[in-house]
Amino acid sequence: MAEFKEISPNASAGAKLTNWFENRFPTAFDAYRVHMSEYYAPKNFNFWYIFGSLALLVLVIQIVTGIFLVMHYKPDAAKAFESVEYIMRDVPWGWLIRYMHSTGASAFFIVVYLHMFRGLLYGSYRKPRELVWIFGCAIFLALMAEAFMGYLLPWGQMSYWGAQVIVNLFAAIPFVGPDLALLIRGDYVVGDATLNRFFSFHVIAVPLVLLGLVVAHLLALHDVGSNNPDGIEIKGPNAPKDAKGKPLDGIPFHPYYTVHDILGVCLFLMAFTAVVFFAPEAGGYFLEYNNFIPADPLVTPAHIAPVWYFTPFYSMLRAITTEMMYALIACVVLAAAFGVLKGRMPAIFKGIIVVAAAVGVLLMLSIDAKFWGVVVMGGAVIILFFLPWLDCSPVKSIRYRPSWHKYVYAVFVVNFVILAYLGVQAPSPIGERVSQVGTLFYFGFFLLMPWWSRLGEPKQVPDRVTFAAH
């Protein structure tokens, strides 16, 4: 127990009150110091470092608007669509709450994608921040589940058929697939039972997991300290510190980064509210036009596309055709051959590689390509978890990597955007080929990273962070 502090009877009322609370709830005061006033963050954060705070802001927007939406929404297949229109028309300011929530969903993915890309640029997942990154990836996964289940709730045509398509994917898993799909839907087709369980997951289960993961993400971050655009450890044993042991390249999070973030929040809110008030449908990307038609199990829309933030992964799913399987088999065989011929390891491990590759190829030939499409789509997200061990560059930040690495990242981003674009489009022969190449590049980028990230001569990393006073 912390020591009980007496205060002079002449002290001001405010000081007395603070003292009263500090004696009874010291944890809160410690937390304020550890996470705010004495959390030293590198002073050279740039534009890219705003998106973490913004993700937190959007999370709060989603929770608060969500609370109000649940007051008026009816999770009932016969009433759901109607209740959303009721919110849009009859609930005072209901349209604003609903648009904030629907725009918030897309905004969440925009800021999270940019936040993850920042991590990629500056090697923020490297030792000792592996767990910070893994919690972050888990947040991304939970966010995808949250968005997917939330999208069913308006009960429009896209809600309904999008859910139908995605849940049917699980049916492709050998042996347990059909039963698993049945368990998720609670019925043989997407219906009232599905709507109710998705509602329950969307408003209770996943948000709880999400909040827990966000807390873990932040606690782990504050334990190891923030990375920065130079990828230099400001709190390491050799880092420059002042007489009190405070890092010279660090500044207290509060007030310096709180005022910084307030500015960022203002700029973000300008963009956010511009969408909410002037273009809430965002040209059919944030609110799909088809979703203004009530769900009809008897009428399949001509073209079913998920919302934009899922489309890169949806493209990869569609890219896996029977034909593509031969390309993937060739990749497995090549990788195994390379491992056996070039790898320096005991014969027993080489034997294991050969056997594993043979089993893999056999499975790839015997199970339907649709299943492997699901594996690829899931793998595209899961592979992010392994990034800390895939990246073997001697330096963290892109700033001190060989210049050509920037082009690799640029191509990665363009490739991701092209995959996203193709996922929105109706299937086409050319689109299929492009998405297949894109899928190979996406996985090649990560799986070959242990090799290519070591190549080239890194630049000299300075001892102190690069910072020009404002």
Partner: protein, 246 residues
């Protein structure tokens, strides 16, 4: 660094510009925007109640919301309340869904948010409806005696044919491409007046799709002004603190 950001923005622009897959068919005409024109909206409401509401509902739209387009409660009661007694009710048609299905082969869709649902690569939902309602023609091969160039084999007959008169569509004999119209019998209105009436009706449908749409834009301007001022202070506050960081 800058290059990466620039290429990223450029790639995003590419996606936004390309928008969604094209649907094909005839080009949509641009509907005049009438959602701020109260007399036009009132005329549209009248047309809607007289010509559409017998088969189509607007089941999420309450009669008393028509006060937003400048009508008084008494005016609504006297002129527009055909299907119900209560002004707080929603605009439901009296057609029996089973009979509708027998007559037209499908249930007439609800029209509350029809203008929002029909948007696409060809234009806004209003553009679609404006084109659709001006593309009916006589086709004796159809059960209703009517067909539509924009929506071939549509189940809906030409509800406003008395206003427009009967027309024939001329198609190219080889390519079956639509070439133009041929008036068979004159309508009560001239072609221009008919287009104006349809524009009013479509304006009403567009307004009904989201009655708060103009309020939303008006408030949005003030929200942005407020945020602009707040951004200025946040910028100066930030600068005041960071001038000490060396």
């Amino acid at each position: 660094m800058k290059k990466i950001i620039l290429s990223f923005i450029a790639a995003l622009g590419l996606v936004a510009g390309a928008a969604q897959a094209a649907t094909g068919g005839m080009a949509w005409d641009k509907a005049p925007n009438k959602t701020n024109d109260l007399p036009a909206l009132q005329n549209g409401a009248k047309l809607f109640v007289n010509y559409c509401l017998s088969c189509h509902s607007a089941a999420f739209m309450r009669y008393n919301r028509l006060k937003d387009i400048g009508l008084t409660e008494q005016q609504i009661k006297d002129n527009l309340l055909f299907t119900t007694e209560k002004i707080g009710e929603t605009m439901k048609s009296n057609i029996d869904p089973k009979q509708a299905k027998e007559w037209f082969g499908a249930n007439p869709p609800d029209l509350t948010v029809i203008a929002r649902s029909r948007a696409g690569a060809g234009g806004t939902g209003a553009d679609y409806l404006y084109t659709f309602l001006r593309s009916f023609y006589r086709d004796e091969a159809k059960a209703t005696g009517w067909n539509n160039v924009l929506f071939p084999n549509v189940g809906m007959p030409h509800a406003l044919w008395q206003l427009q008169g009967e027309r024939r569509a001329v198609f190219d004999e080889k390519t079956h491409a639509f070439k133009g119209w041929e008036q068979i019998t004159p309508g009560q209105l001239s072609a221009q007046d008919y287009d104006k009436q349809i524009a009013d009706l479509v304006g009403f449908l567009q307004w009904m799709g989201e009655p708060a749409q103009n309020t939303r834009v008006r408030i949005g301007v003030w929200v942005l002004v407020f945020l602009g001022v707040m951004t200025f202070f946040a910028w100066r506050l930030n600068a005041a603190f960071w001038k000490d960081v060396k």
